[in-house]
């Protein structure tokens, strides 16, 4: 399983490089804040820590703080990206 996880990791890194390599510079900021929101995926680990009873109260405390921090990253990241992209307009004002 470990080997498989590393395999997935390496493939995903190459996929990420391919996806991003040709992005036009005008989209650098939305791309950055959009991918920044994706890094909030650590919410999954935070939910496991906060929601499952094993490990006792301290694990729940750490988990709940982690959930809050990850949600700031996720919600803030996506909303701010959407706000920026809403401003990118073509000539004539029609929104993409």
């Amino acid at each position: 399983m470990m080997g498989l996880l590393f395999f997935i990791f390496v493939i995903a890194v190459f996929l990420g490089i391919e996806l991003i390599a040709k992005v036009p510079s005008q989209l650098h900021t939305p791309l950055m804040s959009g991918s920044n929101a994706i890094s909030g995926i650590t919410i999954v680990g935070a939910l496991v820590a906060a929601g499952l009873p094993q490990g006792g109260a301290w694990v729940t405390v750490l988990g709940v703080i982690a959930v809050a921090a990850a949600m700031i990253n996720v919600v803030g990241g996506y909303l701010v990206t959407d706000r920026m992209l809403a401003m990118f307009k073509r000539k004539g004002g029609d929104k993409p």
């Binding site: 995903a12 990420g16 005008q26 991918s35 999954v44 499952l52 990253n73 990118f88 000539k91």
Partner: protein
Amino acid sequence: MNLATLQPLINYLYIIASALFVIGLKMLNRADTARRGNLISGLGMAIAVVATCLLAGMEFQWVLVGMVVGSAIGAVAAYAVKMTSMPEMVGLFNGFGGLASMLVAWAEFHKWRVEGWETYFKLLPAGAPDSPLYSGVAIVFTAIVGAVTFSGSLVAFLKLAELMPGKPILFKGQQAANALIIVGAFAASAVVCHDPTAASAYAAFYAVMAIGLVLGVTSVIPIGGADMPVVISLLNSYSGVAAAAAGFIILNNVLIVAGALVGASGIILTKIMCKAMNRSLGNVLFSGFGSGATAGAGAAVTGEVKPISAADAYFVLEAARSVIFVPGYGMAVAQAQHAVRELGQMLEDNGADVKYCIHPVAGRMPGHMNVLLAEASVPYEQLVEPGDVNPLMPTVDVAVVIGANDVVNPAAKEDPSSPLYGMPIIDVDQARTCIVLKRSMKPGFAGVDNPLFFKPNTRMLFGDAKATVAQLAAEFKGA
């Protein structure tokens, strides 16, 4: 219904979420699909959250508290932030992602200590390696990278928000200190991994997190304001790596895939930024560029500076058939983007071809100027990249430089002794006339004199960028 039977469904949902992240990122590559791409990636996130909530044995009362509090803070911050403050807000959000990953590592470590390895191992997904060493390394690595991301992003935020000085903070033996910190991190990690259940291991784990936090601070303080685009992209990459590492702790594919995508995209952006400055990543991270050590280097510039009044600049612009605006950080500081767009519109109505040329590292984050001009409703077709404009520059009537300096410094091409030498610039000195809006003759961030100001076809228009641009627009209205 037996909740345990939901496991296959959860796995499928994670696969769908990963696919949506990939599709979303792909769509973020093009301006006309970017907004939908962001929505799709957000949908992937929502699916991942729902799938995790389906796990057998989940209890929700505290989870909901965390989610509501975090969402509320994130939403308020996202709507309240001004476009000019976007770099620090993106940095701050990024820091919270790092904090979450660090806390996940801590929670897993604590769970392991409380439950013992036998029970902890059974909590991991089927097929997990029955190896305390593997889990220990994953936990320690996640804690360090998460901590570096968190404190590094906080320092970047403080610098960008000007709550602490933006110039590099250097002290004697800084690199030796950093090396020592890294050695300490390895030592503490070794103690944790050697016997994670020993009494000393918890102290060592605290040390690991503390060292990570210190390392984040010491690696960002020597980096100056104008190098922030590099730092922000790099920290973005770190937060992805931290999330992927957390995926290796709990053996979860969606964390690994999403984290790897972010890690890779951050590295690519970092590389683009470094290339735009013709500097290596090592040079950006360790040199304390612009600290004064490099200032004064380069050939002395001599010549005559020719100031121009707003009224005279109006006549030059009025006669121009093609105009290129080159905005820089100064435009953001003066919040001049709306005034610039208004002037650009008037020039267009006057029959001129108007373009905005943006250097990749202008401003404080990648694409900073694009966002500001988009806010002022400049259509994105009018935004052009230096490589496309430079060959046409000799045919351009007027290049208007607004608060940019180093990115238009011809010394980067002409003077091999200049610290900027080799950096790709926007060739405004090749335009028929170049008008530079500037507050004073102070050199730019790099502390390097700019021979552009002394070129025969350059005119200096001194004053606050916003006021000056508004003045030019007023001349047009009056005409």
